[in-house]
């Protein structure tokens, strides 16, 4: 914002209104650098009986006041700018409450402009409800029925390269006009439609839709086949989100007046911070944010940023859908004790209907983390299928490419090229032991070769994302010092092996000159402590048939980074990673891995849980 002078900001209060919890952080300038001071949270109050998001925001701020021991609120008003020890210089916020931003997108060819439009909407932080395209296999009346039924917050209409045919775009506009779609939040306003297609069709689109919807025109998101131009469409989506959608959500009109900076959709803000890390450190990154309702995956490979959102994969509102999509067997495979199917089903549904509850017993925590593994795995599968190169583009091939038959549209996400995997969201950020988050990410993503793992310690990436639009330096400083917790490097050989037979031999030159030599059998995982900020030079010697990045059976010398968990040598198998099919063998294996990383308290989780298993009471 041009009106804000970053150098005059000594204190910043930032909130993120999630679908379940509203989180507030207080950032202050201490000497020459910005640091996180405290963090507070309160249940989000978009729903009845409050139906006013600001109530939850005020509650979260009150907790910040209490913890920081300073006054920020004057009644229900945030004191700005700061006077002495009272108030803050800037208040900013992100939001994903109330179901976030729900969009429908349309293109001419589903796998080309349709997919580009989908990427633009996802990149802006939206949930894409459907992609309508000329060739999507549905008959016109089926498309019209679908458009009517969806009631999105916004529609992004694209199609055609500049100078190309206009008739297909006209056809899509006609279908849209015939459907006469209504906005999700009440009939009181016209549905925002953004046109970002062939510039030659602008007049046709205006003529067909101008009187029926709130139409905005922006640059073509696929001006030529070989290039996407998603920025202008993304910016327009943000504008429309503020002007139309947020303004109609309960309490947001008031919240918007509190901040001089536009409220940003949470995933859009997280994406900004992930993109910043990848660019500044020149690395490939995957970020995941697992929330109550949705799971977002962000990636930067080959300099291309991609984001996907799995609208119905999450740990509270959507927890039951994880069960539906993953299947009970896939959840149970991660549970290291016996549990009745009926009991597990009821527990999952009870979490769905009372989404703000938390696990009290170890057994409940283990079950939640089992569900999280599946939610993360499914969200990542969806991400890989959308984070792909542009389709329909002719590629030049060299002689070496002929051996690697890559078609256009292949996924950009390469686990063997991944440098950093960052986890965020309650179940990862609030895991009582950091090693739990590390193992959940290893199990769900199965990173290959050498990858560094990290978590967003207190889940403040959204607030820092929006802060980066006003004060990039403050956002980066707080992100590095107070937000990102580096867990350590993971080494995972790829290839088949036999359980118990040596898979990897390692020589480590530890800080201070100490040498460690050991081997890891196939099917096992080994943890070696290495402090945060320290590095070790590792010589990795995989057995024949296994690869750690230099080819099968080839030695690799690499620098491994320490962290709060340490170095993880994961020889449990990649391509394939398999759990024993026999129930008891599987439970034994899970317990062995859990113990190797000491992820649960010393009491043997399995024995304790079986002994203390309490079924739902009063079953007749």
């Amino acid at each position: 914002m041009s009106t804000i002078d970053p150098e005059k900001l000594n204190s910043i209060l930032a909130t993120d209104c999630g679908s379940t919890t509203t989180k507030a952080v207080l950032i202050e300038r201490r000497g020459s650098e910005y640091r996180l001071i405290v963090r507070g949270e309160a249940p989000t109050t978009v729903e009845a009986p409050f139906e006013d998001v600001t109530r939850g925001v005020l509650n979260a701020i009150m907790e910040v006041e209490e913890l920081a021991g300073r006054k920020i609120l004057d009644g229900e008003r945030i004191i700005t700018p700061q006077h002495g020890t009272e108030g803050v210089d800037l208040y900013i916020s992100t939001s994903s409450a109330g179901g976030g931003l729900q969009m429908m997108v349309s293109g001419v060819v589903k796998s080309m402009t349709g997919e580009s439009a989908q990427r633009a909407a996802l990149g802006a932080g939206a949930i894409v409800m459907d992609v309508i395209a000329s060739n999507d296999g549905r008959l016109p009346h089926e498309k019209i029925k679908r458009i009517r039924h969806l009631r999105p917050d916004m529609i992004l209409l694209s199609g055609g390269v500049d100078g190309g045919t206009t008739s297909h775009v006209a056809e899509m506009a006609e279908l849209l006009a015939a459907a006469d779609p209504k906005a999700r939040l009440g009939a009181g306003y016209e549905l925002p439609v953004i046109y970002a297609g062939n510039k030659d069709a602008v007049e046709i689109v205006k003529e067909r839709l101008g009187k029926k919807v709130a139409l905005t025109i922006t640059e073509n998101l696929r001006p030529v086949l070989e290039r996407e131009n998603l920025g202008p469409a993304r910016d327009k989506i943000h504008d429309m989100f503020m002007e139309h959608v947020m303004a109609h959500a309960p309490g947001y009109r008031k919240l918007m007046t509190w901040s001089p900076v536009p409220i940003m959709p949470t995933p859009g803000a997280v994406g900004l911070i992930i993109e910043t890390i990848a660019r500044e450190e020149k690395i490939t990154v995957i970020g995941v944010d697992i929330g109550g309702a949705t799971t977002d995956v962000f990636s930067v490979f080959q300099g291309v940023f991609n984001r996907t959102v799995s609208a119905n994969l999450g740990m509270s509102y959507s927890v039951s859908n994880v069960l539906v999509e993953a299947g009970l067997a896939n959840i149970l495979r991660w549970v290291p004790f016996e549990i009745e199917e009926r009991d597990l089903r009821n527990r999952i549904k009870n979490k769905m209907i009372r989404p703000t509850t938390i696990p009290q017993s170890l057994e409940e925590l283990i079950i939640e983390q089992a569900i999280a593994r599946e939610a993360l795995r499914l969200a990542f599968e969806q991400h890989k299928s959308l984070a792909v190169g542009l389709k329909g583009v002719q590629q030049e091939r060299t002689i070496s490419d002929t051996f690697e038959q890559t078609a256009s549209g292949e996924t950009l996400v390469r686990l063997d090229h991944l440098d950093l995997l960052v986890g965020s969201g309650g179940v990862l950020s609030h895991a009582p032991r950091r090693a739990q988050a590390a193992l959940m990410m290893l199990d769900a993503f199965l990173p290959e070769h050498v990858t560094e793992l990290a978590v967003d310690s207190i889940f403040m990436a959204p607030q820092l994302g929006v802060l980066s639009t006003v004060h990039p330096r403050a956002a980066k400083e707080v992100f590095e010092k107070d937000c990102l917790v580096r867990l350590g490097s993971a080494v995972a050989p790829v290839g088949p092996g036999r359980d118990g037979v040596t898979a990897l031999s390692v020589t480590l030159e530890m800080p201070g000159g100490k040498r460690e030599e050991f081997s890891v059998p196939y099917g096992y995982i080994r943890l070696l402590p290495l402090e945060l900020g320290e590095t070790a030079k590792a010589t990795l010697r995989p057995e024949k048939g296994l690869d750690v990045g230099e080819g099968k059976g080839k030695e690799r010398v690499v620098t491994l980074k320490g962290g709060v968990v340490g170095l993880m040598f994961d020889a449990r198998g990649r391509q394939p990673f398999k759990l024993p099919e026999d129930r008891l063998a599987r439970i034994a294996k899970l317990n062995q891995w859990n113990e190797a990383l000491a992820i649960y308290p010393p009491r043997d989780a399995a024995k304790v849980s079986v002994a203390e298993l309490r079924p739902v009471e009063a079953r007749a």
Binding site: I144, A293, R342, R345, S361
Partner: protein, 375 residues
């Protein structure tokens, strides 16, 4: 200390309730302000525009898009029957003809000069909205619907399936602990809203459907049975449109859980009254809980209305129910609200409260895992 509580569900003997009854599209409102209505009375009516079928006449006739209108046999706005020829072209001195037959009965809505498509609109679909509850019209929203006001008992459940319905309330069990059994469902239950205790199975619900029961209100239900009842696994809690032949309202949660005494007693006090129920549940983006409305125009329950609120901060002495394992479903009194964070068995440090379950011993629970209920 900041507030920390989970708002409980509304269970009140007497309240004034308003329900908006709106059409999906503008139409006719059939009632006036002040008019008394019964739950089944139609209060507004409209016609949804029919579905649209697009026919690419330019391609079918082999003519240019801009010329399509010339080849129509009837002008735009005309009615056409299914199978009727609505466009044709002649060529080679009229010897060869290409024809377009209407795939549906409807009207010719528009012709596109760019794509050569003709849109045919099917017959409109009539839609009616009823009053849902016995009450009085307090507001008319011109062309869109009405607000109905009623006074009486109001009970929210935690989860439901099935849409709106109404019937006489009948309690079929002797207490809130008792499951609803098949033997309790007989011909006398036809057309009624049947209240059970702790638990019901799909088998019992199937019998209820067969006997013409309108709705079942129960403390707990197994997810396993829900899947059998719906025929699929419910992923996202948005319900209300299921066509099951019955509406089910669960007041406590999944599993076998005795109905809260207060809820059960209130329902029992409504025995024989004509009630409206809705199973519609939405736990995200505009929360909606299933409900039972028992209109009581005489206001017999009004004196109980004074202690009806369960909102606001929690304090020692309040009655709470645990809503998560390992004490799921138990009810106790708050004895202390320590301000500091306490470690749980999971090693997470959270805000807790101390509860007495009535046996003298005190238990620490995460504040997030209780809900306030009225004593």
């Amino acid at each position: 200390m900041a507030h920390s509580y989970t708002p409980g569900l509304k269970v009140t003997a007497f309240t004034t309730l308003r329900r908006e009854r709106k059409l999906p599209l503008p139409g006719d409102v059939l009632v006036k302000v002040g008019q008394r209505v019964a739950a089944s009375d139609v209060v507004a009516r409209t016609q949804l525009p029919g579905n649209v079928q697009a026919v690419n006449v330019a391609n079918l006739l082999g003519v240019l898009p801009e010329d399509v209108e010339e080849f129509l046999t009837k002008p735009v706005g005309s009615a056409v029957d299914k199978g009727e020829v609505f466009a044709e072209s002649k060529s080679f001195f009229g010897l060869f003809r290409s024809k377009c037959h209407a795939p549906v009965k409807g009207t010719i809505e528009s012709v596109s000069k760019v794509t050569g498509q003709v849109l045919l609109r099917e017959e409109p679909i009539p839609v009616e909205v009823d009053a849902y509850v016995d009450g009085t019209i307090v507001e008319v929203h011109p062309r869109s619907g009405v607000t109905v006001e009623t006074r009486g008992a109001f009970i929210q459940g935690i989860f439901g399936v099935g849409g709106e319905t109404a019937g006489e309330l009948h309690v079929s069990v002797s207490g809130p602990q008792e499951p609803l059994e098949e033997r309790s469902i007989d011909a006398a239950c036809r057309g009624k809203v049947v209240v059970g205790g702790a638990y019901v199975t799909t088998a019992v619900l199937r019998k209820a459907i067969a006997q013409g029961v309108k709705a079942v209100v129960i403390g707990g239900f197994d997810d396993h049975d829900l899947r059998q009842l719906l025929g699929y696994d419910l992923g996202v809690a948005i319900t209300g449109s299921e066509e099951l032949g019955i509406t089910l309202i669960v007041t406590e949660g999944f599993g076998s859980i005795p109905m809260a005494t207060r809820t059960f007693d209130l329902l029992r006090s409504c025995e024989g009254r004509h009630v409206s129920v809705s199973g519609a549940t939405q736990i995200r983006a505009g929360v909606q809980r299933p409900e039972i409305v028992a209109p009581d125009p005489e206001g017999a329950g009004a004196r109980e209305a004074a202690h009806d609120s369960v909102e606001g901060g929690m304090k020692p002495g309040d009655t709470v129910r645990v809503i998560r394992q390992p004490y799921f479903g138990r009810i106790g009194k708050v004895t202390a609200l320590p301000p500091e964070l306490w470690p749980l068995e999971t090693e997470a440090k959270v805000r807790v409260l101390e509860v007495d379950f009535g046996n003298g011993s005190r238990t620490l629970l995460p504040r997030a895992n209780v809900e306030m209920i009225e004593s």
